[in-house]
Structure formats: structure tokens, C-alpha cells
């Protein structure tokens, strides 16, 4: 028998053979396939859950960050830092909302040369530290502001008030009588001078009694500087009135 023929005969016979598996074979395989698929699905769920968790953390952190930033804007306030002799000072509410940061005045700036980070962490607040020229400018502005406020609401000195009163009385006399005599002016000045002297004595009595002042009051000496000021004021007022009359004519 040739080798190829032998192989062919065997192949042909064996290829035609079929062997039916046992009746439960499919159920066994099906059970194994079910076990195989389920873990795969659960694994996929785990991956999806993990991905969601990561995304949630990212978004959460982002939201937290933005909300804390908003909070930071809202919570700008006066902060004391006594242990390091640092005073944090807020100019005004509107200033905070515009600048979105705190203005810090430092008494001993050299103590916190590199501690801006520490301030941020400690107070959870954005802090701007002013030093040197910047600080000086800030202080100047504050001082300017204080003085500008005093100029609007401040009081005139007693002497200035009296000058204004004398000028007003002279104007009134001019309006009523057209001409004002030297005697009238002297009388007005004398009254004003006495009032000023009394005021000075009162001020001085509140502190201590001065014998010289008492003597001056008795003698009724006029203060030369006051007299000059009143005369200048009257002259200025007279020129104004004269110009106004000329323009009317």
C-alpha cells in the first residue's frame, strides 16, 4: 500500500466521522460563557464608575476653586495679625470690591519680607502688601483725603469769624446809609476786638490764668494785626461793590 493512499483512506474515513457530544455539553459551555461575560460587564461598569469619579473630582475641584474665589471676594475684611505686629487695614467697602484685595499697612515691613504667602494661607484672603514708596503714596492720599474732608466741614477760627462779622456789618451799613463813617468802623472794630480778647481769656482760663492777658483786656489795646485784616477785608468788599455799581450803570 502506497503511503499517500494509506493516508487518504484513513483521512477519508476519519473526516466523515462525527461524534455527538453529551446532552449536557452545551449547558456546561453556556454556563461558562455566562460566567465569562458577567465579570467583563462588571469590569466595564467599574471602569465607567472610576471615569465618572475622576471627572467628578475634576469638576468638583474646579467648582470649589471658583466658589472659594468668589467667597474670597466677598470676605475681604479687616484682619489683625498681632503676633507679627502687622495691621491689615481696609480703606473702604467700595475700594475692596473694585480692587478685590486687601490693603495692608505694615508697621514693620522688614518682619514679613517674604511672608506674603504665609498671610494668604493664614487668612485665606488675597492680601496686597504695600511697602516703601507705594506705602508712602498711600499714606499721603489718606492724609490728603482727611484734609479735604476737614476743609468742607471744618470750622473757622474765632478771629476769622469776627472778621467776617465785621465785614458783614460794614456791608449792611453801606446798604442802609450809602456811606460808612470812620466812627462806625472804629466802633465795630472795638466790639470785635473786645470779643476776641474775651475769647482768648476764656480759652486761657480753661488752661491757666495769665496776668498779662488780663492787663491787656483792661487797657483795651487793639491788636494791630486784627485791625489790618479787617481793613483789608472791608477794602476788598468795597471794591467789589463799586465794580458792581459801575457795571450796573
Amino acid at each position: 500500500m502506497e503511503q499517500n493512499d494509506f493516508d487518504e483512506i484513513l483521512k477519508k474515513k476519519l473526516d466523515q466521522r462525527i461524534i455527538e457530544p453529551s446532552s449536557e455539553s452545551w449547558s456546561r459551555l453556556s454556563e461558562r460563557l455566562s460566567k465569562k461575560v458577567e465579570p467583563k460587564r462588571s469590569k466595564a461598569y467599574w471602569w465607567i464608575a472610576a471615569a465618572c469619579l475622576v471627572l467628578g473630582l475634576f469638576f468638583g475641584a474646579d467648582v470649589l476653586k471658583s466658589s472659594s474665589f468668589k467667597e474670597e471676594k466677598k470676605t475681604n475684611k479687616l484682619v489683625n495679625y498681632p503676633n507679627r505686629s502687622i495691621e491689615l487695614e481696609v480703606n473702604s467697602e467700595s475700594q475692596i470690591s473694585h480692587q478685590e484685595e486687601m490693603v495692608v499697612k505694615i508697621e514693620n515691613p522688614e518682619e514679613i519680607k517674604n511672608e506674603q504667602t504665609d498671610l494668604n494661607v493664614a487668612n485665606n484672603t488675597k492680601v496686597r502688601v504695600f511697602k516703601g514708596q507705594e506705602r508712602k503714596q498711600l499714606m499721603d492720599n489718606q492724609v490728603d483725603k482727611v484734609f479735604s474732608e476737614n476743609s468742607h466741614t471744618g470750622k473757622l477760627s474765632f478771629e476769622e469769624q469776627k472778621i467776617q462779622e465785621v465785614v458783614a456789618q460794614v456791608r449792611e451799613l453801606k446798604r442802609q446809609q450809602d456811606t460808612v463813617s470812620d466812627a462806625d468802623i472804629d466802633a465795630l472794630l472795638l466790639n470785635a476786638q473786645n470779643a476776641i480778647a474775651k475769647e482768648r481769656i476764656n480759652n486761657e482760663l480753661s488752661a491757666k490764668v495769665d496776668a498779662n492777658a488780663l492787663l491787656k483786656m483792661v487797657e483795651g489795646e487793639l491788636d494791630q494785626s486784627f485791625r489790618v485784616k479787617v481793613l483789608e477785608a472791608i477794602k476788598e468788599s468795597y471794591n467789589t461793590v463799586k465794580t458792581a455799581v459801575a457795571q450796573r450803570n
Partner: protein, 191 residues
């Protein structure tokens, strides 16, 4: 013409079943299993003497078929793809049992027992003779003569030299021929 159309329809059905089975459609998997399991159990039985073990190996093979069905690209016959998986699974089973020895010495076959249903199962007789071959002879013979592997492919698959594959085949043939001739004589003698 009619039969030709039927063949095309069958092929389309098979592709459809494969696609569905790839998506874990259990019914499609069952249909494919029913279609190929008898043939594949026969293949496994060629290598594995015990039918129950052969069936276990076949089930392992089908498990891998359905698990890696997505890697079947439709190139070549689906049956050929499953068949190769079954052969590998069978060889793995024999290797795991440490029964796979490629002996260079001549081995005498034991006397093949004859049974009462001899006339009906000629193939079964052949199988019995094959079963009595040493594992090395048997595997190389089945792979070469029945499955159509080349010596190079066998050498690569079994991690042996081509010369070993050729010698194993030669000795397997000699033993089989000897035993089958004996069977023929007995058969003619009975008739």
C-alpha cells in the same frame, strides 16, 4: 442551480450567526456549537483516547472560539479556524498530562482488542489502532495525514525539529499499516 443557491444561503446564515455570536448572542452561539461540535469532538477524539476528556477539551476549545470570535476576520473557512483551535487545545491537554514523548526507538503496538460491532465501526477500529500509538507518533500522524499539516508546521507547533516530525510520522505509519493489515486479514477471515 438550486443547490448552489442553498449553499450561498447557508454561508450567509453562518456569517450572520458568527456576527451575532460575536455580540454574545447566546442563541447564535448555540446554533454554531450544534453545527460544529460533532465534527470537532471527532477531531479531539483523534488525539485523546478518553471520550469524556475529549469532550472536555472540545468544550474548552469552543469556549475559546466564542471568547476570541472577534479575532476571526472571515479569512479562510470558519470550520478550519475552529479546527485549529481544537487541535491546539488537544495538544495542550496531552502536554499537561506529560504524556507527550517523541521516542526515537521503535515501539511495538499492543494487541488491538476486537469487539462485537466490528463490521459497523470500521472507523472506530482505525481509531482504536491510532489510540494505541505512542502520543508522539499519534499526534504527528494525525496532524500530517488527517489534518494536512506540513512537517515544518508540525515542528513549529510541537516545538520539535522537522527531522523528528518526519521520523515520528514514518514510525507511526509503519505501526498503523501493520495493525490495519492484521485487521484486514481478520475481517476477510471472518467473511
Amino acid at each position: 442551480m438550486k443547490s448552489f443557491l442553498k449553499v450561498i444561503k447557508l454561508h450567509k446564515n453562518e456569517l450572520d450567526l458568527i456576527n451575532r455570536a460575536t455580540k454574545h448572542d447566546r442563541e447564535a452561539q448555540r446554533l454554531l456549537y450544534n453545527m460544529y461540535a460533532p465534527k470537532m469532538l471527532s477531531v479531539c477524539r483523534l488525539y485523546i483516547k478518553d471520550l469524556h476528556h475529549a469532550e472536555d477539551v472540545m468544550l474548552n476549545g469552543f469556549f475559546k472560539v466564542f471568547k476570541y470570535l472577534g479575532s476571526y476576520l472571515g479569512q479562510g473557512s470558519f470550520e478550519g479556524w475552529i479546527r485549529k483551535i481544537m487541535i491546539r487545545e488537544s495538544i495542550s491537554f496531552i502536554r499537561a498530562k506529560k504524556d507527550l514523548v517523541f521516542s526515537e526507538a521503535d515501539v511495538a503496538l499492543r494487541q488491538v482488542p476486537y469487539n462485537d460491532v466490528f463490521s459497523e465501526i470500521e472507523v472506530a477500529e482505525i481509531q482504536q489502532v491510532i489510540d494505541e500509538l505512542p502520543e508522539g507518533y499519534k499526534i504527528v500522524f494525525v496532524m500530517y495525514a488527517i489534518e494536512g499539516y506540513t512537517h515544518q508546521e508540525i515542528a513549529s507547533e510541537l516545538k520539535i525539529s522537522i527531522g523528528t516530525s518526519k521520523s515520528q510520522l514514518y514510525k507511526a505509519r509503519k505501526l498503523l499499516q501493520k495493525e490495519l493489515e492484521k485487521l484486514n486479514k481478520v475481517n476477510y477471515g471472518t467473511k
